[in-house]
């Protein structure tokens, strides 16, 4: 019993330490974004653009088919079970408000968060971060800040694309392939969307982007002893990102819609 209590205590302390470290890292990145030092600004901007390309542009071929398939499937299900007049409301509540941000975040975690953890882990073990510092280059400027801005901007764009494609594309597929009644669907969607929905989805994108970046960077930086730690850190980082997104999703839902 005492051993178990000790184990629980150690786990709790470890977890609290990890959250404290992640909060400190988030604060430092955020402060650097606000300060936006002139030194290295152009280099930073270029790396931000590269990050947006890797995270958003290269993910389009995954996000668009998923949004089309998920959108058409859900619209057909909703049309089958909901009364006509509720179809727009249900689609907005589930597809745009909940599934859109979460599924997009999942794609970003699978593609980019894991890549960031692996890259940061390797850079730590192979002393590449030290190599930057020995040239007077601040890793915050060229590694962390561009990742944070790039991933967050990418998530905002990808979630927007997901929502539009899933609703319009899903509607088009459902209309073309079935005889289910979908009259006035787009008009219902237009009526059902409220400013609060857009604010909630925007906040989710911001929180997801910042959180995914900080967690994946932190797990990458926690690699110390060797390259064999990188896969473990990547796996744990991805799981932590997923839990974080689900928790934030629920917290924002509770804050706005309960």
């Amino acid at each position: 019993m005492r051993d178990y209590a000790g184990y629980l205590g150690r786990q709790t302390v470890d977890r609290l330490n990890r959250y404290a470290d992640q909060s400190a890292l988030f604060y430092r990145i955020l402060r650097q974004i606000v300060v936006n030092p002139r030194t290295g600004r152009r280099l930073r901007l270029r790396i931000v653009v590269e990050q947006i390309y890797f995270t958003a542009v290269e993910a389009l071929w995954i996000v668009i088919p998923i949004s089309l398939l998920l959108g058409s499937m859900m619209i057909l299900q909703f049309a089958g079970i909901a009364a006509q007049h509720d179809l727009g409301k249900i689609t907005v509540a589930l597809l745009i408000r909940e599934f859109g941000p979460l599924v997009t975040a999942l794609v970003v975690i699978l593609r980019s968060a894991t890549a960031v953890t692996i890259e940061t882990g390797y850079m730590t073990v192979l002393r590449e971060i030290e190599a930057l510092e020995l040239q007077g280059v601040d890793p915050l400027d060229v590694l962390f800040v561009p990742r944070m801005i790039g991933i967050t901007v990418s998530l905002v764009c990808l979630i927007t694309i997901f929502c539009i494609v899933s609703v319009l594309g899903g509607y088009a597929i459902a209309w073309a392939l079935t005889t289910l009644p979908l009259q006035n669907f787009l008009a219902q969607i237009g009526k059902a969307i409220e400013p609060l929905d857009i604010v909630a989805v925007g906040l989710k994108a911001l929180f997801f982007g910042a959180g995914i970046t900080v967690i994946s960077l932190h797990y990458g930086l926690s690699v110390r002893r060797g390259i064999t730690e990188v896969p473990v850190a990547t796996s744990r980082g991805a799981v932590a990102c997923l839990f974080y997104c689900v928790a934030v999703n629920f917290a924002l839902f509770a804050a706005f819609f309960l």
Binding site: R38, T39, G40, R41, R42, L43, R46, E119, Y122, M123, L126, R127, E128, E130, A131, L132, E133, L134, Q135, G136, V137, D138, L140, D141, V142
Partner: protein, 221 residues
């Protein structure tokens, strides 16, 4: 005035070393030390300590008379830029080409991206035989070419002090002799230098004085 001054510095062991027991050490312009240690990890730790890469567990580090606070990152970066660190673990950035690696510091500090390598850098690249490999990434070139790129980067960044570890590691003989010649020029010009030869016979190349680390105890002779 001393360029680097470690006062009552101490560090716990790393790897298989004994660590560094409390010591004081100064490095002034014109100094050239040959480092000898009974454990490679202790020599490596000492060079990393001089390069500010290992924060002290006790004691202080002064650079140009200014005591460094290891929690003030920006200030630390400015100091690190003035240190030519050629340890065995000095690395290149893996996802950038050799050219980009050599230009990264200038991209950052000059806040411009339309830069090209200076004539002095290109001349060194030519001498080390990496001129035609500048657009490859470190993983795409041989280890000795990557090492040569590190040497070119550190030698041309305008460092005020050089910390060198096992100069002959991962370099063909001709390149190593070129490298040794470059260090000798720097030492003759009064740039302070600490050199660890490891198990090679090249420990008398630039030395004016010796540093011994035995069982974690540092002494200067």
């Amino acid at each position: 005035m001393a360029l680097i001054e470690l006062r009552n510095y101490a560090h716990r062991p790393t790897g298989r070393g004994k660590g560094l027991e409390t010591f004081s050490f100064t490095l002034a312009p014109g100094d050239a030390y040959s480092l000898h240690a009974d454990r490679i990890d202790d020599a490596h730790l000492f060079l990393r300590a001089l390069a500010t890469l290992e924060p002290p567990e006790a004691g202080s580090y002064r650079f140009n008379g200014e005591e460094l606070n290891f929690t003030k990152r920006r200030r630390l970066l400015a100091v690190r830029r003035k240190i030519g660190y050629l340890g065995v673990d000095a690395a290149l950035i893996g996802n950038r080409t050799l050219r980009s690696n050599l230009l990264l510091g200038r991209y950052y500090h000059e806040n411009r991206l339309d830069l090209s390598l200076g004539e002095d850098v290109l001349a060194l690249c030519r001498l080390f035989g990496i001129e035609d490999k500048l657009d490859l990434r470190p993983a795409q070139v041989a280890p000795e070419d990557a090492r040569a790129a590190v040497i070119v980067r550190e030698m041309t960044k305008g460092a005020e002090v050089f910390l060198i570890e096992q100069a002959f590691v991962a370099l063909p003989r001709q390149a190593a002799e070129l490298y040794i010649g470059m260090i000798r020029e720097k030492v003759d010009a009064g740039v302070p230098c600490v050199y660890y030869a490891g198990l090679t016979q090249y420990d008398r190349l630039f030395k004016k004085r010796d540093i011994y680390i035995r069982d974690g105890v540092l002494s200067v002779v």
